[in-house]
Amino acid sequence: MTPIARLVSALIAVLVASSTVATANPAPAGPETDIARPGQLRTAQQQTKPKPSPKTTPPDKTRQPRPTPTAPVILSPPPERIEVDVSTRTIEVTSAFAGTEIIVFGTVLNSQQESAESGYYDVVVVVEGRGATSIVRLKSNVGGLWINTQSVRFDNLPLYSAIASSRPLDEIAEPSVFVANVIGYTRARMFPGRHSSKVTAEELEAYKTAALRLKQKDGLYVTSDYGVAFIGPALFRASIKLPANIPVGPLGARVFLFHDGQLLASQKATVMLERQGVDRLVYDFAFEHPVWYGILTVAIAAAAGLAAALAFRR
């Protein structure tokens, strides 16, 4: 061990310690990082301390840094940013629609990771549909019959939600970080809305659990613990399956970059699910001109019946 190597490891120790001190001096958020997190403090601190080039000493949390052959260069690594996009920006929902798959991909700018396998960064991808009020009903036995007796409304529950991450979420960061960034439909954020039955706190918890369970059973809430993979030091991708029963509408993709439990950057992209072709015509007609739509349906059905009567007349 050379003195230089000792200096480097001491430096790393200081950096790790400093990253746990929160809110001391807020870092200027980059244009793409729309959420300022304590993790960015690390970059602020780095600007005041000399540090070897990331190319020569990759800061890998599992391995000791290698000794640098040259003298340490006084250079602070710029903060990480991410750029993301989706493979398909507009998905056509036609009469042949049977679900599809989109790829959310992105790149880490100023990546300090050595290779795709080093696991320096964690990435969480959240793809969500629009929010809507959902009614959760509970059946109970009334005089021998199982009927709906109580209900709780949850406002703004996403109609679809997919979470893919490079590791299980609880290994990436503290639950509070996910709650603060609305990552995953955390039960803490579900409040009973108007017209809900009066229920106790325990009962409400059961409703929340049931709501998430039912959504998962319908394939509308999905989590994929190892669904995000790095392809190189900077490039990552996640494949998100959209089921056939996905409610049509815009989908928002949010991507979060983590290191060591800290959120470094986040970025958004949008996917449009749009009805196309005959399906769109039928849907628009049914909702914009419901009376004429009904008359058309009757006319088609009556014509089919007449045609059958004439075709099979004996």
């Binding site: 809507a132 959902s134 009614i135 009903r137 049931a210 056939a244 419901p290 739509y293 009904g294 349906t297």
Partner: protein
């Protein structure tokens, strides 16, 4: 081959739907009923939302009853005047029924009412038909003749006002009972997604004492108009009519009905009624079973979209 249904918002195998349409069409051709009481529970069973199943079921019955009504009309088996009185009542019943559907959906009790209604009506009608057909069968087997048309007997119904002459039915009776029957059946058509043939046919025979040969034709004539009105009103009020689903069911149903009608000619009337009664009871029991047995999942979730508030 799957088809994405625009209103039900789900993807489903076309062949499943066509064979369902054909199977129900076969039964409807065989027994001379619309088949709505089998189609609606089947649609719910394969995952179509109950409200969409009911709305779309009405459209499918328009097609099947239309082909039946045309065939009956050609044989001169439709009493148009009686049909119009039934339709007048039927339209009132449909308007009320569609609004009741809207209210029940909002209360979250629509599925329950549909299930209870099925159990009640299918149970009553099934048992009555079973008793009637088995006693007739027993009589026929004992060497006697099947029951013929009863002679017109005077009852309290003849004391009601608005007397009308129904030449085709050879009846001079008050317009109130057929209008009430029509209203009731229209109401049921809208709520349960059925044509109501299995209720209107016995009502015309036993309450109005219409000649049996023109009962089926007149009932079909009324069912065409009432289910047509129900379809338009369901679409206007609840937006629950799926054109793509209706079309696929109609295609299967049209073919099935023709084969059913051919098969039906080989069976005797009371035998047909016996098997129809058994089928009606079976469907009723199946629906009732789900009400009585503790469901595996006690919770259900419904997103409030499309302004159902």
């Amino acid at each position: 081959m799957t088809l994405y249904l625009p209103i039900a918002e789900m993807s489903i195998n076309v062949w499943v739907l066509i064979s369902m349409g054909a199977a129900v069409g076969f039964l409807s051709g065989l027994f001379g009923v619309g088949g709505g009481f089998i189609m609606t529970p089947l649609l719910i069973f394969i995952g179509i939302p109950p409200a969409v199943a009911v709305g779309t079921g009405s459209a499918q019955i328009v097609a099947s009853s239309m082909s039946g009504a045309v065939a009956q009309y050609r044989r001169g088996n439709v009493d148009i005047k009686m049909g119009l009185v039934l339709i007048a009542g039927g339209l009132v019943g449909t308007v009320i029924g569609v609004d009741v559907v809207r209210i029940l959906r909002r209360l979250g009790q629509f599925d329950l009412v549909v299930a209870l209604g099925y159990v009640t009506f299918l149970g009553i009608v099934g048992i009555l038909m079973l008793i009637e057909s088995s006693t007739t069968l027993a009589k026929v087997q004992a060497g006697g003749k099947g029951r013929g048309r009863r002679a017109h007997a005077h009852s309290w119904l003849d004391g009601l006002p608005f007397k009308m002459r129904f030449r085709h039915s050879k009846l001079y009776t008050s317009a109130v009972p057929p209008a009430v029957i029509g209203t009731f059946v229209g109401f049921l058509a809208a709520i349960f997604g059925i044509g109501g043939g299995f209720i209107i046919v016995p009502a015309l025979i036993y309450i109005l004492r219409m000649p049996t040969n023109i009962v089926v034709g007149t009932a079909l004539f009324q069912i065409v108009f009432v289910t047509a009105a129900a379809t338009v009103l369901q679409s206007a009020t609840n937006q629950t009519v799926d054109l793509a689903l209706a079309l696929v069911l109609v295609i299967g149903g049209v073919f099935g009905a023709q084969f059913g009608a051919i098969a039906g000619q080989r069976l005797r009337g009371e035998q047909l009624r016996f098997w129809l009664a058994a089928l009606v009871l079976l469907v009723g029991l199946r629906v009732g079973y789900d009400l009585v047995v503790k469901p595996a999942e006690l919770y259900s979730i419904t997103p409030l979209v499309r302004g159902l508030e």
